[in-house]
Symmetry: C2
Subunit: 351 residues, 2 copies
């Protein structure tokens, strides 16, 4: 790898010394993809990951931030240091709602044992998912015992991000009932634990029942009846990583709990954290943790390679020249996207 | 480009002769990425596109299929030939609901002047968005006067697909009201026309008002106050194409209509089709159609190049060998994803 500049070498040392300011700078370096960010990541990640990674995902308004705040508070009480990454929705209209949630976290913001970072979805050049996963890695090797990521929304990006955690909690609300059947398959399949939050509202028990039914239906469909999002299938080289069916773990599967919480009052939060701990134990004992980490490493290699391929190809002077001529030719009917693409590929690839 | 095999040459001739069976075969060829599909596309697309392309998108259950059926029926009555592409959600749970919608289209299915194709989201190797755009291209040059694409869901894939049309209709329902503020920015920004369907339900007028307000808010935020999804910014080489702010068209902007329909009874459908026709006129007169087609060509070149880059890289024997050693090294702490990626890149790239 490229050598680190003296400035980045200094940042790395402060990062390794556990300076929070250095962590914040390192995250910005990665988020903005400033020169040397990959060399920095290479150097920083040459430590083994050890954080327990927890992901919370689900539709907007489900109270994920409140649950994150409750979990973070509990972990802090147990003396653990906690890193939180919140992935903002792209919508400027959601700014207000999100801010409301963030404010609840402010109690935690003065605690030096907790570090909260919002990912600005618009600033990420290399794809939000990849950047966010790299930020999770940084937090992990920085030394937090817990790294929690909260994603707002249920798109491919969010699924990819939560797949970079060890334990995925899908948060729903009693009003989600009608949506269970129509729920995106990826969300359903990514859950290690389901939570129906705001469970003091009507309909909570019905939703719990519907989720259990859906889990049951799914588990009947062997061989993809187990949470499968951590599998990576290299033969599927689509634009977005695919969710590959996983082989059931040899030590027996994980039975997905469906819990009820009221994050605002703290009800059910300790049961949730207990389930997270149990899942963590299962991951270690079953060998699933090692498998997931390996799948994650493969996924990360692929991300980094794909990003570099695009970068090299589209920042190439020759590409720009080919496109300038090629787009005119396409409009005149003298070329097609396929012939222009072929010319570009010939200019960057070895064979 | 590679020569077509005699079999594909025969298919191309039947395709050019307007045989529907050949269109169906060509679509399968592209969908399954069978050998020669790119050469076939290159040969087939060497005709100018001429179809008016209409995209309908919005949340599940908004009645998009019914609106598509109503529009297709009206266009058929006017003597136009219509191609419809329906993009199914990935969720197996939505199969039932979707089937219900499809059945409504069965009246149309016996009409030889209409061609309906469902895209199976699981079968697409090169990324659903790219494949669907290629299918739209095929339908376009095949000779349909109208090509309509319906996407279920509001993710990046769906936004990309609708951006491959000339006119994007975002379909909402009165119940969408609470979600307007939280609506994904991309969906908001991709609309050329808004429709509140099922407008006989309570709350329709409130939602219309909220959408108008949101449009107004957005248009105040110069310079990205105009529908921007057709812009392509090459400097943003992220994993997923970005929505780039567009420069307002010189001839003045398009004022986004917000309409009410009841697709089941046909209410408001003629007003919707009139708005689509007006938008089409504006596109031609303002030069925006030419601009969008050029942006689309650029986008397509990029898709094809990116797909080929991934294919070459990940199907490379050397890559497999590097990964086999590299993933072990990562788990032992002797390598990082960045050093492994670098080795892979060096084996495929010219420089």
């Amino acid at each position: 790898m490229t050598e680190l500049t003296p400035r980045l070498q200094g940042l790395l040392e402060r990062f390794r010394d556990g300076k929070t300011v250095a962590l914040a700078r390192a995250i910005s370096l990665v988020e903005d993809e400033r020169p040397g960010f990959q060399a920095f990541l290479h150097a920083a990640l040459a430590r083994s990951p050890r954080a327990a990674r927890l992901g919370l995902t689900g539709p907007p308004g489900a109270g994920k931030s409140s649950l994150v705040a409750a979990a973070a508070t509990a972990y802090r009480r147990a003396g653990e240091r906690v890193g939180v990454v919140a992935v903002d929705p792209t919508s400027p209209y959601s700014g207000g709602a999100l801010l409301g949630d963030r404010i609840r976290m402010n109690d935690l913001a003065t605690d030096p044992g907790i570090f909260i970072r919002s990912m600005a979805t618009r600033g990420s050049l290399g794809g939000l998912a990849t950047t966010t996963k790299e930020v999770l890695d940084l937090m992990d090797v920085f030394g937090f015992e817990r790294v929690i990521v909260e994603t707002v929304g249920v798109g491919q990006t969010e699924l990819e991000i939560t797949a970079a955690t060890d334990t995925v909690v899908v948060v729903l609300v009693p009003e989600s009932g009608d949506g269970i059947q129509a729920m995106k398959a990826g969300l359903m399949e990514s859950a290690d634990i389901f939570v129906v939050n705001k469970a003091d509202r009507p309909g909570a028990d019905r939703v719990v029942k519907e989720i259990r039914h859906a889990i049951h239906l799914r588990s009947g469909r062997a061989p993809d009846g187990v949470p499968a999002h951590h599998g990576v299938d290299l033969s599927r080289v689509g634009r977005t990583p695919r969710v590959a069916p996983a082989v059931p773990s040899e030590s027996g599967g994980w039975s997905i709990p469906v819990l009820k919480t009221v994050a605002q009052s703290g009800e059910g939060v300790s049961e949730l954290l207990e389930a997270v701990a149990r899942h963590r134990g299962w991951l270690s004992e079953s060998g699933e943790l090692r498998r997931r980490r390996r799948a994650r490493a493969l996924n990360r290699v692929r991300d980094v390679v794909d990003r570099a391929l695009r970068r090299v190809t589209w920042n190439h002077a020759e590409t720009t020249a080919i496109l300038e001529v090629g787009l005119d030719a396409i409009q005149e009917g003298a070329a097609t996207p396929y012939s222009v693409a072929r010319t570009i590929l010939a200019s960057v690839l070895k064979e």
